[in-house]
């Protein structure tokens, strides 16, 4: 599979995503520059973590107007696979490619910590290498990851299976203490209605080597790799 990792000014985990996909998994991956409109024939686009444009306004609010985002929106409309991690998730929400929004953590502070994440829907292109109920050990690192959406929309999203990942405790149970940022319904990752666009706050690219804290993140990338059209 050919992957494209978008580099916005202020992207930070772009190199880590590239490393995970190209070096650890041995797949074909390249950087896509935010000022370009060409996607170079890639089959999956990854919007990485970071602070695009400094995120001094609202996270992702400026990045969505980058030249490349026009192409990303068209790519998604054509059914192409798009995954947004952390700041990438925030950008996807701002671009209305995914429902909902991400606001400041309940604690009002940045949180960097490994969390337990439960797979809620394993029949998506992003989770097909997992099973429903699987627990993934993935780090989060963000200041604005509190997921919000209108209640009725959330209900519909749950019914359609768009809630893909949830924060839980080590035993797989939801609890207030296990919800690091106060997200509604402990949501850590959601997909669009067509299940070809996926946003998540946890960082699978930071869980791909045993020495650096585990390999659970590989399951996300392996799912995508196995979903090539």
């Amino acid at each position: 599979m050919k992957w494209g990792v978008v580099r916005f000014p202020g992207s930070l985990d772009d190199g880590d995503a590239l490393y995970a996909i190209a070096e650890v998994m041995g797949q074909d991956a390249r950087i896509l520059w935010h000022k370009d409109e060409s996607l170079g024939g890639v089959e999956c686009i990854l919007l990485p973590g970071g602070f695009s444009y400094g995120d001094y306004l609202r996270t992702g609010a400026i990045a969505r107007f980058s030249p490349i985002m026009k192409s990303v929106a068209k790519f998604a409309a054509d059914g192409g696979l798009v995954i947004g991690i952390c700041n990438g998730f925030q950008i996807l929400c701002e671009a209305h490619l995914i429902p909902g929004a991400l606001t400041r953590n309940r604690s009002l502070s940045f949180i960097c910590e490994r969390m337990w994440i439960r797979v809620e829907n394993a029949s998506t292109p992003f989770t097909r290498a997992t099973k429903r109920g699987d627990l993934l050990r993935l780090p989060i690192k963000h200041g604005e990851g509190l997921y919000v959406a209108p209640e009725d929309e959330l209900r519909q999203m749950e019914e359609r299976g768009q809630v893909i990942l949830r924060y839980v405790d080590a035993d797989g149970r939801e609890s207030d203490a296990a919800n690091p940022n106060g997200s509604m319904r402990a949501i850590a990752g959601v997909a669009n209605q067509r299940f070809n666009v996926f946003g998540l706050m946890p960082h699978p690219e930071h869980a791909v080597e045993p020495m650096l804290g585990g390999v659970d993140g590989l399951k996300i990338f392996q799912s995508i790799a196995g979903s090539a059209r």
């Binding site: 202020g10 930070l12 985990d13 880590d16 444009y53 960097c112 690192k141």
Partner: protein, 743 residues
Amino acid sequence: MSERPVSLPGEPKVDLEQARAHGLAPDEYRKIEQIIGRTPTYTELGVFSVMWSEHCSYKSSRRHLRKLPSKSELVVQGPGENAGAIDVGDGWAAVFKIESHNHPSFVEPYQGAATGVGGILRDIFTMGARPVASMNSLKFGSFEHPRTRYLLGGVVGGIGGYGNCVGVPTVAGEVMFDAAYNANILVNAFCLGLVRKGEMMSAKARGPGNPVLYVGSATGRDGIHGASMASAEFDKQSEAKRPAVQVGDPFTEKLLIEACLEAGKTGAIVAIQDMGAAGLTSSSSEMASHGGLGIEIDLDKVPLREARLTPYEILLSESQERMLIVAERGREAELKTVFDKWDLHAVVIGHVTEDKRWRMRWRGQIVADIPIGALADDAPLYDRPAAEPEAQPQTKISITEKPGTAKALRALLDSPNIASKKWVYRQYDSIVQSNTVLGPGSDAAVLRIKNSRRAIALKVDSNPRACALDPYLGAVGTVCEAARNVACAGARPVGITNCLNYGNPERPEVMWQFVRGVEGLRDASIAFGAPVVSGNVSFYNETEGHPIPPTPTIAVLGVMIDVSKHVTQFFKNAGDAIAIVRTATPSLAASEYAAIFGIDGGRLGAIDLAREAALIEGLVEGAEQGLIRSAHDVAEGGLAVALAEACFNPRAILGAEVELGRAGNAAAVDFFGEGASTVVLSIAERDAARVESLFAGRGLEFAVIGRVIADPRLKISGTLDEGIAELQRIYEDAIPRRLRGSD
């Protein structure tokens, strides 16, 4: 020479009084008049005042810093550039430095700390190295002091707010709370970068006629006189110095990192330097001076945030995220292309000259024209009197009340100085760049080097309470502790950087503390063969006549040949032997136990540096041979606390059963004593004899004191039997509980 510099309409008259207001001593002012042969212009006076400030000139410290060893087979760059560099193998050099941002952080904690991080990052990537790790050492007043929470929240927020946004992981640090810092907090920021050997960049200008480029953010009024603020004591008016604190823009810094590293690859950069303290003035004069050349700048070409800045303000501004580059003539366009790509200013503002003058033009006139040496190398140099104070700290410890052992252990784990700092480091991105093998919460951080088996280990340490009792032994002990922590992880210490925080050097007793501290650093550095390649001095850390305790902050770089052999502090398997190895006998002097239970004074034990070096060699060899399951340095709180911490394994909580002290007669000093360079090891039973010979063979005291048990309890000498879960709860909750304000 040429035209004479002019004073501008409306500028204040320059005289002795004006010089005094700029922080220049009368002798210094007379020396300026002598050097330039006339009365300086107001702009020139401002320039001299910052360049001759303690912060920029090191006028009180320079002659002592020369004593520090700075050479070894591994040194790629010693002091003299923006940072030092050490060969870490496989073609890589590690470029690193630590610097203070104490004064601004006390006045405005968020921006002060943030720009401290930004400044030290620039010192690293100007060398052509990609910053890969940050650390910090923080000292706050007592937790009960009304300003401490505000300062703690602001500083931690600022470090995270800046560091997280530039994509450099914060991998380790230390935080201490003590009333001695109530009116003078310390914020020391460390950064390390990696560069291929042979691709390092320099800050020495070369080639008269070469163009000088200004890159990065535009210049504003922020930070004017920041360097002077850092060169004076605080008083009641210090709050009013807020405008002298700079404001950080980490987004621009991130662009600057990428653009500068990319520009470095073109080969068109001759020299590059950060516009740090004293901004355009120091960067331009230092680059030219280091190259034995002059520089001429047209201030009208400097990108400005507002049009009405005066030459004085342009030259003294400490606006952040700016760099000065000397380019190869004719290759300016190549560099501009790179900076355009990253949407950053890159403007030719002047050129290198042969005449060794620092000449500034503005609106067709010359506003400053100074011999280059006067601003840098010929700045005043003082041999300030140093004298041991009359009143010695009392040397006898008296314990009036002897708290129960379990009660004391709980109190120690609940002390913010010992307790988990997770509340702090959880606010820092510690994993970006995918190299962090061991992050915050360990004895030392361990970072792998990609495409290599090698790894580096990092630790920053300080021990002001010991330094207050004996500034020499305290400094020696601090280096030993940092080096030992790195060795506990399995890495060999190879290099040191230091941030020397002291009071007003014009006081003989402070100068004495400083001189003894430097001597301690020197002796320990020699003993470990780990040279001091970079550093920073911060004087005038005092408010209304009360100096901080002497606080040399030491960061040690270690190198590991094989990252898979790294060792952590946590017990791994029930049944493993628990052993201690140490170089001396512990004491309660300067211990956390003494601080909590109100014991003053005491005398530090002597330190045998040959034994310290032997301990480090033994630890590294044991790790390399895979004989050590866990190694944890005994620091604040002594052996009992170290044993408890070793049980807090995040993967599997284990217990420990040990015998301490003289059979059945253990005293507080056996449980909670410090200062004996002790390491707690756990070892597979079958390896115990080999590990013993590793240390006993080096003449060190080695003893198996117990074993790791599956029952999650800490059992010591039949007098203490506590559940690990409860101890860990106290340890984890000590800082959050205080911040919730529920006690």
